[in-house]
Symmetry: C2
């Protein structure tokens, strides 16, 4: 006996799922085949896409075909194409074919990794693969799960900042249970004035207050000045504040600068501060011996984070966070209500990653990291880094050869910041013209109060021809 209602829920049957699934895969392949010819930036006006959508949801279900056709009609005009090889804006957000397919598996399995017990493979692949990656990047033994540390996948480096600042806060106070109101001195955190905005956001979220994050001045290469850090800490101690956390950056957002980790480490040790390393963008480079210098010293940090979803061919979201003392993280984030208790957790023999992050639920994200690291291997990823770095050296040479432009920050990896010598107005005009052309996407920053074009190389399909065309395009607007 079946309930009559059984027939009234229009689940797609599995034969249709196969058929439509193949359609979707082909649609994506077609998209990726043609994306380099599309205008990179969307040019729709605010409200234009929403205006193509009905004001309420349909009463009766629609066919999959009609939904699919709206992808081309409604969605496509409203996309800015991060997977275009002409993408040089913000950061590379590489969705390699391998990672896309791994993500399909994760979506299809639909398992939850909140506890080890709710799908052991989801946890154990993650732990193992993050150990692989720690080794690949030269993070040293302290971050391995085989000791007191370990790695975890977070959505973004912003969340990694919150979780580590939280663990540091609670190590410095009794924040988790009692809160900060009863804690008299203000907690003070430190990062450079070139650090990512997520550090300041984290300070607001965990309740120490954004004003208690001090933005330390940088040198002429935009790297944090250790002497200024030490002075700020001393000043704060003298004023009765309580320093507790420093975040150093491996590849700042504006110009890709590298903070001097060894000197900062020494200061953190002297004052007993949690030392976090934000290598979201350029951590990937450390897999090559010739770039390993960028993070010398990080091996002694308390936490380290980098984003495979930027430059390591894993599609968003996949941030990796390692901590040297996992107990500190878990102490701040664990709650064990009765309904989540289970034998494996009680045994203490397993990791429950819900205790390493803000959310409870979690997807099987380690699959895509596992797939990508295996498909490319050590050498494949190193070659990609070297290829992009070589393209960057070419670009630097071309810019240096053009007397109209000047490069305003060191560009040892894949980010070049440059400006027209005539000043901001001219630089802005070139940037606007380039973006309006549809042929590239570029973003900007300000360095020492000058507007610069940020030319970020690293999209997975970018080749020399794309960089060369983009540079000639920029030059053409300079000549205009």
């Amino acid at each position: 006996m079946t309930h009559p209602a059984d027939q009234n829920v229009p689940h797609m049957d599995l034969a249709d799922f196969r058929r439509h699934g193949h359609q979707i895969i082909d649609w994506i392949a077609d998209y990726l085949e043609g994306v380099q010819d599309r205008p990179v930036n969307s040019i729709v006006q605010p409200g234009e896409i929403a205006g193509m959508l009905p004001s309420s949801m349909p009463e009766n279900g629609e066919s999959f075909e009609s939904i699919l056709s709206d992808l081309d009609r409604v969605i496509m005009p409203g996309l800015t194409h991060w997977q275009s090889p002409n993408w040089f804006a913000y950061f590379p957000a590489n969705a390699s074919p391998t990672s896309i397919l791994a993500d399909v598996v994760s979506s299809g399995l639909g398992v939850q990794g909140m506890l080890w017990a709710t799908s052991p493979a989801c946890t154990e692949v993650e732990t193992r693969v993050l150990d692989w990656l720690a080794d690949f990047l030269g993070l040293g033994d302290r971050f391995l799960s085989t000791g007191t540390g370990g790695g975890v996948i977070q959505d973004t480096a912003s969340s990694a900042a919150v979780c580590t600042m939280l663990a540091a806060r609670d190590r410095a106070t009794s924040g988790t249970q009692q809160g900060l109101s009863g804690h008299a001195p203000s907690l003070r955190a430190y990062t450079s004035n070139q650090a990512h905005s997520s550090i300041e956001k984290a300070a607001g979220i965990i309740g120490i207050g954004r004003d208690n994050l001090r933005l330390i001045e940088v040198d002429d290469q935009y790297a944090m000045c250790p002497a200024a850090l030490r002075a700020a800490i001393e000043e704060d101690l003298a004023a009765g504040h309580q320093p507790f956390y420093v975040s150093a950056t491996i590849g700042t957002t504006a110009s890709g600068a590298f903070d001097p980790l060894p000197e900062i480490l020494e200061i953190c040790r002297a004052y007993g501060l949690w030392f976090h390393v934000d290598a979201a963008m350029f951590g990937t480079a450390a897999c090559c011996e010739e770039f390993r210098w960028i993070q010398a010293g990080c091996q002694e940090a308390d936490s380290y984070t980098m984003n495979p979803h930027k430059w390591m061919l894993v599609n968003f979201d996949c941030n990796c966070l390692w901590v040297a003392d996992r107990a500190a993280l878990i102490e701040s984030l664990s709650i064990l209500p009765e309904y989540l208790r289970n034998q494996a957790t009680n045994s203490g023999a397993v990791i429950d990653y819900r205790d390493w992050q803000i959310p409870l639920g979690r997807r099987f994200r380690s699959l895509k990291l596992w797939f990508v690291l295996r498909q490319y291997g050590v050498i494949g990823i190193q070659n990609m880094v070297r290829e992009h770095a070589a393209l960057t050296r070419d670009l630097v040479t071309w810019i240096e050869e053009d007397e109209c432009f000047e490069i305003l920050a060191p560009a040892p990896v894949t980010l070049v910041c440059f400006a027209h010598r005539d000043g901001d107005e001219r630089t802005q005009a070139i940037l606007d013209a380039a973006n309006a052309s549809g042929k590239v996407s570029l973003s900007h920053a300000r360095l020492k109060d000058r507007l610069v074009i940020r030319f970020s190389i690293g999209q997975w399909r970018t080749q020399r021809s794309h960089v060369e065309s983009a540079w000639k395009l920029i030059q053409s607007f300079s000549d205009a």
Copy 2:
């Protein structure tokens, strides 16, 4: 001229992507076809899956075929099958075929929705579809984007709790900038002792301290007692504390209880407290007229959250959060560094969802919500709710007819909590035997210090036969 290195990065070419993509889709279809015959819970021991993985990443890339074969060999034994129709544990985490395919599109496009400008469709579809859903669930006009409110997709209800408690904290203090140390009275939040652990976790994260979340007692139906809430607030005020936030639950985790929203609303208004409604699990039911009562009063709340990734056929992660005053949320979460400035943001005419969440980056998650709401329509989703509710009524009847068991909490929707009359030891033995059989997955809770079996109906492929078999299995262990 191409760089020699071009050839050394083993990207999967698009022809192979098509071929392997079809393989993966078929692999998932096969998995879904056969999943009901697999033992529902994984029986591996801690370390067993990790033991099948090499200790370091491969030097040279591996073939996709070899990775794919490891899905069956390594991953499958370590899975607990949330997509089995015999899944009655925790909550339904429905990955409908439609949502899986939409998620594939999102992975394939690989766009970032951090700013409106970085892919306008990603933002505008989200805003529109959350307006649809607010209407579908009867949330009222205050939560619509067309007024002062609006909806946003978060990863989970845990993050929604953090974001709303944060906005409430900052409305009550100057928390974002100055932090809590300078704020003398302790902030106090309230929820019932049956609320989800994420509320307590949020209190720790935002720095008010877990001890400053008061767990209010419940009535014999496990719903919050308004009188007890009022008394707690009065007591706290008398002690010099500062009440600021109440979270009420629509479907508590342990037993699916409904807090009395109208009475709680009245108290929140009287004392000027932020009123959050956590409808993570049972919000979906409100799409049916006969269940709309569960959230009468939520229309006047400050925030409301529910999870399409639980019972609304959208695969994880997709939590929806609505706020009545989006300015309060944005005030707590917005930072605008130079490198994210753009014309559209400056114009004020667009939503930048990065200001509505903890992370900066974001996937195109609204696609899967859009696909599912369209493919099923109003009627399709209502029918699913009604079908699952009917199955639940059947189960309730069967349990009531068996004198060995008793139901320990009201079960008006899809969660039934029951125990053997002989007591905890007997109930535990039955639960263990059922889970060990591989034929079902069930979880547990404690209600009034009694162990109960939580039988949660709602997996998208569960039909009457599955519920009936599961019940007979339970009975068989009771007779043993």
